[in-house]
Symmetry: C2
Subunit: 286 residues, 2 copies
């Protein structure tokens, strides 16, 4: 098996690790706008070296794990260059703009639109971990647009990685993911911003913050380069979730301001249901 | 050593475990408004049995680990009943209302106002864990109001538990803790509420939510019985933090709505500083 990873960071690098583990004979090569990342990935043993256009044409698998704005820009030209039987997958956190961009591409049948729900708040090849995808969900969009034989090879790979597959249309994906992922990142970034602005003396944050704060603010460590284009591409859905979140915060504020403690209690108690919901999530604490 | 734990939940129960570990000869008794909790705590080996008023009078240490509204209600009468040399500590997440309530109590010298920054989102005696306080910060307020000899015994106990001590006045405590703890809980509760309201079909949340969502929404599992009185007692500070948080969310919304992606990027990048700040926090992942 010959694989080319375009964008050798946390996701691409973790996938490279898993491919090499499951097939020690595999040739895994990389492409990256950062030469330093490519070199680090080679030193970490994630890739054997830099891929050329000839490698793209000869690849069994091409993984496009770059920020979503660059997927939209580069996916058409990547498809131009791959072979007739190459499987191309992405790992973007938005799906509608990407699927739209390649809808009428002559090699649309080579592409499978994916969103593996896996990752950490860290970035770059050094953040790559083995087994990142094990037990995680992989959301596949527009499966019917991909050639049967190519679909099949993708499913074999995901089974090998231990992933659970869910099929969804791109618009539904983008709408739901705005709630369970994109909004979490904004709430965390703005929580971090609020506390940093207030607490000029960082010693006070350091000493008084417990694991609860750490947990809620964890996503504020995430990469702006990755997240800015996600918010841009999913703008409509994200604005809607933000409006609902702000409305709920204002309602909480109004209840507290007018001393309606029973109503506050009830709002929190009803939200405790999240305990049962979360029990089903396969967690990745790394 | 004879200790009485009033409120034998996560905090009281964990303290009971640590006391018994460090002094196997210790007599540890409990009081609780819930007979079921008392019985569970006895069965779990956290306490030897139920404490009487005579036990309070003879106790070396009384721990008041109950919701903050009940601390304000009951602390004066607890102080009335303890012995002249009994050390009484609380573990409330607010400090100003509690300190005000007992300011002129004849036994004020027996009380040390504490806030151990330790805990999880779980409650009740079954949630008690050994070593919960190890490496954590304990914020002590108005230390000068406590008798020297009694202070000393408290510090010996905290050293035994592995805690780091920070002294602070009650008003500063309540102001800072609103940012690094109380606001986190509200942001998490309202995030959970927003997602639950939208996603009537819980299967969708379950399948698409990753560890990022789990982390940001973790505190929404917390007990409304514990948190409603905290928000009530710290209302003024909490309203202020909420206003700033909502203003930051609205600003983010406005930047996204008007396609100002460079400014969005910068806001997130500046908040990435939280990485360095968090490095100093002794985490409790349990």
């Amino acid at each position: 098996m010959k694989a080319v990873i375009i964008g050798i960071g946390l996701i691409g690098g973790s996938l490279a690790r898993d491919i090499r583990r499951s097939d020690p004979e595999a040739t895994v090569l990389g492409m990256d706008i950062s030469d330093a990342h490519l070199e680090a990935a080679r030193e970490l043993g994630l890739i054997g070296g830099k891929a050329s256009d000839a490698d793209l044409a000869a690849a069994d698998l091409v993984v496009v794990s770059i920020p979503v704005d660059r997927i939209v820009e580069e996916l058409p030209s990547i498809l131009d260059r791959v072979g007739d039987e190459t499987l191309v997958i992405d790992a973007g956190s938005t799906k509608a703009p990407i699927c739209r961009e390649v809808a009428s591409h002559p090699k649309r049948r080579n592409f499978l639109a994916c969103h593996p729900i896996a990752g950490t708040e860290f970035t770059g090849p050094a953040a790559a971990v083995e087994g990142l995808f094990d037990g995680k969900v992989n959301i596949i969009c527009e499966v019917e647009e991909t050639a049967f034989a190519i679909q099949e090879r993708a499913l074999d790979l995901f089974r090998e990685l231990g992933m659970r597959i869910r099929y969804m249309n791109p618009e539904a994906h983008d709408r739901h993911i705005a709630y369970v992922s994109h909004l979490s990142h904004i709430s965390s970034f703005m929580l971090g911003k609020t506390v940093i602005e207030k607490e000029k003396n960082e010693r006070d944050i350091f000493d008084m913050a417990g694991s609860g704060f750490e947990s809620t603010v964890r996503l504020a460590k995430s990469s702006p380069a990755m997240w800015t284009p996600i918010f841009e591409q999913n703008k409509k859905n994200v604005l809607e979730t933000l409006d609902e979140y702000i409305a709920n915060l204002k309602e909480f504020r109004a209840l507290l301001d007018s001393d309606q403690y029973e109503a506050l209690y009830e709002a929190m108690e009803q939200t405790n249901r999240i305990r049962e919901i979360l029990k089903g999530i396969p967690l990745n604490k790394s």
